[in-house]
């Protein structure tokens, strides 16, 4: 009876009038024709059916009107369903270098900055599957929470649309991750969780922060994807520096190593152009195919039109009944007008 419990009325006291709907059982809308004996009418199933149909129509009409006056509605609710998708926390680099092209120049003409390319491609990614949930966090020197975890893709797209605004300063990955990770919240553990880090450079992660970050990763256990937008000529993730192999000398390589050491599923994608970015996003999309529970909001629904429609249906039947009505006097005139020969024969027979 969950359906019944969700039904309500704006003016429930009007529903006290509902017993009036039984009136058609007592009173008829049709004109009464007094006859000396009802037994003269032959029993007829069709007539009986019509009689009951009219009575029912009367009940429906009165009941529907009372119901409509009381303003019925079905209250809103939140439904949890399961779809295919993932919770994706995007962590997007807003450092100044993101505004440059992949060639490391200021964009001019048809050229596209790294931020613009990732904006375009990520915007397509968002909403390609209906039940993905996204959080967007931007970071440069300090992290900025843009959109918390939500399934409102419009909001997410709007957030992504904003990431090609001129960036600021440096790349502080550690604090960005520190903000991106808690976005998952305390949800169901079996949901596939993804941290998507989009950056064009790396930074040293302070050993002091490494401990808490490891703990956080171990607790949330997300899949980590690093989309590294590599500027032409800059070192790759996998390049060993010629000199000393310290985080300061090769921050990309050491960030990669740090991620590998976290013990979570991790992949790095190195992209040197928009095509490679698109390819990387496609791969991520195909990797994350797990069931995800999602909630659906169903708004309160006004049922008054339905009640009026119900009453209308009943009234139409009643009007049809009224239009079909015949009476003895009118009938006698009509029959006199016709004076068909068989009628005359009938009369003679009856009169005999």
């Amino acid at each position: 009876m969950t359906l019944l419990s969700r039904l309500g009325a704006t003016l429930p006291q009007i529903l006290w009038l509902l017993p009036l709907a039984l009136l058609p059982l007592v009173v008829s809308s049709q004109r009464r024709t007094l006859v000396s004996a009802i037994a003269a009418a032959p029993a007829d199933a069709l007539s009986r059916t019509i009689g009951w149909a009219l009575r029912l129509a009367g009940i429906v009409a009165i009941g529907g009107l009372i119901l409509a006056l009381s303003g019925p509605y079905r209250s809103g609710e939140t439904i949890t369903r399961t779809g295919i998708g993932a919770q994706i926390s995007m962590l997007i680099d807003r450092s100044g270098s993101m505004n440059e092209t992949f060639a490391g120049k200021q964009p001019s003409g048809a050229e596209e900055s790294k931020a613009a390319a990732s904006r375009r491609l990520l915007a397509d990614f968002v909403g390609s599957r209906a039940h993905d949930q996204f959080a967007v966090t931007a970071f440069s020197t300090s992290p900025m929470l843009v959109v918390p975890m939500t399934d409102r893709h419009d909001a997410v797209r709007a957030a992504i649309a904003a990431i090609d605004r001129p960036g600021l300063d440096y790349t502080n990955v550690a604090r960005g991750l520190g903000m991106a990770l808690p976005q998952f919240g305390a949800g169901a553990a079996q949901v596939s969780r993804v941290v998507l880090l989009v950056s064009d450079g790396a930074a040293v992660i302070d050993p002091k922060i490494q401990g808490p970050l490891r703990a956080e990763f171990a607790k949330i256990h997300p899949n980590l994807y690093w989309l590294f937008l590599r500027t032409k000529g800059s070192p790759s993730i996998y390049d060993k520096p010629a000199g000393e192999d310290t985080p300061q000398a090769a921050p990309e390589r050491h960030l990669d190593l740090f991620f590998k050491s976290l013990g979570v599923p991790y992949r790095a994608f190195e992209a040197e152009g928009p095509e490679q970015v698109a390819e990387a996003i496609r791969q991520i999309e195909s990797l994350e195919r797990d069931p995800i529970p999602y909630t659906e909001q169903r708004p309160r629904r006004d049922l008054t039109p339905w009640a009026y429609a119900l009453a209308m249906a009943g009234l139409l039947v009643l009007v049809a009944g009224k239009l079909l009505e015949a009476d003895l006097q009118g009938g006698s005139r009509a029959a006199a007008g016709r004076t068909a020969p068989d009628d005359a024969a009938d009369e003679r027979r009856l009169a005999a």
Binding site: S28, Q30, V35, A37, S47, G51, L328, S332
Partner: protein, 281 residues
């Protein structure tokens, strides 16, 4: 309302000593010559038929007999059940009143007595008029039928009326629409079997021939039989007429077995038609 005179002939030879208009079973000294009987059978020396006496080779003495004329009683048994309240082409109550006034008038005019018994579930004592020769009283009571309250659910009282009418044969008009169960018809007619019974069937064209052939009608039974929706259509109309004919055939069969077929009274009371019916059957 002034109606024409209803002419009727009793089917039996009435007895009785009251002088009236009808040929009597009894023979007496006055009236139309009937036959000659032996003086020993009717020792009335004033009426000795000399010619017949002389003609008889056995020398018997003959006396002339003359038919006496006697009066009879005409009764109207009126069904006062609620179905008689029906008004189609004509008001059934007015038809009944017209008929009874005609009967009262015609009966008292020739010296017959007119009596009236109204019955619904039992005899309605307020609508009972013992047989009377007073024209004024008879017509007044007959006219009063328009004011009578038709309210009974059946006409069972007619069975009791039959016992009340025991005795000499009478001319009895049973006035009803005869919408009775068949056993009741049988019972009433058999109860009145000793009398000359004229069933007067009140019919209305609106109730049979002139029913509409198409349309929805909600019928309400005057006798409290409930309401019923009827979807009139040609096939149902035919069935209705067939039923109605079957009912009338049953009535005719029963009534004819006890005397006369029913007289159909509808639309307007026509004394001449009733007279013809009474003469012909």
């Amino acid at each position: 309302m002034k109606t024409g005179e209803i002419v009727y002939l009793p089917r039996w030879r009435p007895g009785g000593s009251r002088v009236g208009a009808h040929r009597s079973r009894d023979a007496g000294g006055l009236g139309t010559f009937r036959d000659q009987v032996s003086f020993l059978r009717l020792p009335d020396a004033r009426r000795i038929d000399i010619r017949a006496t002389l003609r008889d080779p056995f020398e018997g003495t003959y006396v002339r007999r003359f038919e006496t004329r006697t009066a009879i009683e005409v009764w109207a048994l009126v069904d006062l059940s609620a179905s008689m309240r029906f008004e189609g082409e004509a008001s059934r109550a007015e038809l009944v009143a017209d008929l009874c006034m005609g009967l009262a008038d015609s009966a008292t005019r020739i010296g017959d007595a007119f009596g009236l018994i109204g019955c619904d579930d039992r005899i309605r004592e307020d609508v009972v008029l013992p047989a009377t020769r007073q024209r004024g009283l008879a017509t007044e009571r007959a006219a009063g039928l328009t004011e009578v309250d038709f309210r009974g659910g059946s006409a069972r009282g007619l069975v009791d009326a039959a016992t009340r009418l025991a005795g000499r044969p009478k001319l009895i008009f049973v006035i009803s629409d005869f919408r009775w169960p068949e056993p009741l018809i049988e019972e009433v007619f058999s109860g009145l079997a000793l009398h000359d019974v004229v069933p007067v069937l009140l019919a209305d064209r609106a109730e049979d021939e002139n029913l509409p052939s198409f349309g929805l009608m909600e019928f309400d039974d005057l006798e409290g039989g409930g309401r019923r929706m009827v979807f009139m259509r040609p096939s149902l109309r035919r069935r209705w007429h067939a039923r109605e004919r079957a009912r009338l055939d049953t009535l005719r069969r029963i009534a004819s077995a006890y005397g006369r077929p029913p007289f159909r009274l509808e639309g307007r009371f026509d004394a001449e038609a009733l007279s013809r019916h009474l003469m012909a059957t």
